[in-house]
Amino acid sequence: MPEQLLFAVEVTLNGLMAGVMYALVALGFVLIFKASGIFNYAQGVMALFAALTLVGLQNGQIPFAHLINAIFGTKLHHFGWHMPAVLAILLAAGVMVILAILVERYLLKHLVNQEPIILFMATIGLAYFMEGIGDLMWGSDIKKMDVGLPQGGSFWIEENTQWLGFGNENFYGFFLDQLDIVATVIAAILVAGLVIFSQYTKQGRAMRAVADDHQAALSVGISLRFIWVLVWSIAGFVALVAGIMWGAKSGVQFSLSLIALKALPVLMLGGFTSIPGAIVGGLIIGVGEKLFEFSIGPLVGGATENWFAYVLALIFLVFRPQGLFGEKIIERV
């Protein structure tokens, strides 16, 4: 059945690109977990906050307008400008760096050497705090992300892959979303950039050193606080990229923060400490859930995408708890 096969290929391609989106979110988790051992529950909210800030800046929305109006009886809402997307992205990235500095100064600094569970609770607090601040600053309505990314299916790919059907009338060529393709390219550039940074620069080496051993890092002259700010800034930037992609796909809305939950099974598969793991884990889950929905879905009444990833993660937890690429847990007795 070449027709079925072609559809399966199309589903796989779409799955791969959905996987890239999951990987983007998981990447932020891995960066922070590696460097500081903190499972940052707020990573999803950071993506939301970054996207809100980007849209707000771009459209010249006045931050805290509702609050100011309520207190002073004014009717402020917009500055009246419309920024170019590139400038707004740069400014939003700047805001994420400021956020990283604030998190380090007012949260992490006071929680050094605490139990992981306490740090985890702190990030839950941070998540809800940021969600609230995001609401206060930019309002809770659903916003449109318009940074000039292409939308809809790519006709070019459709036309140029039609011949693969070899005259089959039911096959019109592969349907791929242009946004997904752009997201894949950007994610690839982002990961390549991260790898080059961590392997070949002084700060990258310092980051790996801190991830490996805090005490040893201190003894060679690395400031932990600087590295934490750096790592949270990078995670903030990754969150911004994820926020742009997800925002362009489904609008900037508060449910965006729940994509963090989608990243969890990715991390179970890829391991919490591995950047390649986050990528491969994201791809496996993306392809897995699309193919499962395509093949088994009709038999069980569909909607398998809601739970497939978690079941897969559960199976991994039983048979390979450290994930595909995670560091092996060996306890010496």
Binding site: T201, R205, A206, R208, D213, V220, S223
Partner: protein, 273 residues
Amino acid sequence: MLDQSADGYVTEDGRQIGGVLMEMRNITLKFGGVTAIENISFDIREGEIRAIIGPNGAGKSSMLNVISGFYVPSEGEVWFRGARRPQLKPYQVARQGIARTFQNIALFHGMSTLDNIMTGRMTLMKSSIGAQAIWKGAAEREETEHREAVEKIIDFLEIQAIRKTPVGRLPYGLQKRVELGRALAAEPKLLLLDEPMAGMNVEEKEDMSRFILDVNDEFGTTIALIEHDMGVVMDLSDRVVVMDYGKKIGDGTPDEVRGNQAVIDAYLGVSHD
């Protein structure tokens, strides 16, 4: 008795020791109600190998941690290169040119030997993030220079064979050697070694002793070390501080210390009746 004038002294084997590099003045360190170090003063002179010895729990490691900034003394002053040192963070101490090793080896286990030693040069690297992004050429040249320095250290410590091996896989003795290499890579003015020979067999101890002497001899590095093995300490060091229960009970050349009654009592035990 050695002539300990301000200008230094000449050791038994004829090496010229310089002026005071680091001075600990009336250092006291308390953890809650426990006094780990009680009012101890001593100095470390340029070019010498200075040992701190004492029975278990005497406060030797605590003293090393005060010097390297990991512990904050409750009282007393630390003087370094003729100036009083304000309270610094460990990474700031490292940037002043004080490198150290740890009793329980603190290496970057996931990184190769080469990368580990390379991190030792962190304090000597200048290029900032921005500069590395813009002047790729300059950053590359700097990287090459540091690589050459690291290769020299690898040759010096005779660990060429394990250059690319992740240090987590190395046996204990070699890990200790890599850790020494990382400390050396910083080209320190003062090198602190916390029990460099703990847990080693005789052969490994001999190797390590040779490296310590060579480092001091070839690079003129001032070394302060903590060691349990009395034989090793007496062979290696120029002067020895002896600690017991947080107090200083002796200070002098190995021969002087060996003849000191308080030291003999601390090590052999003495009946208090």
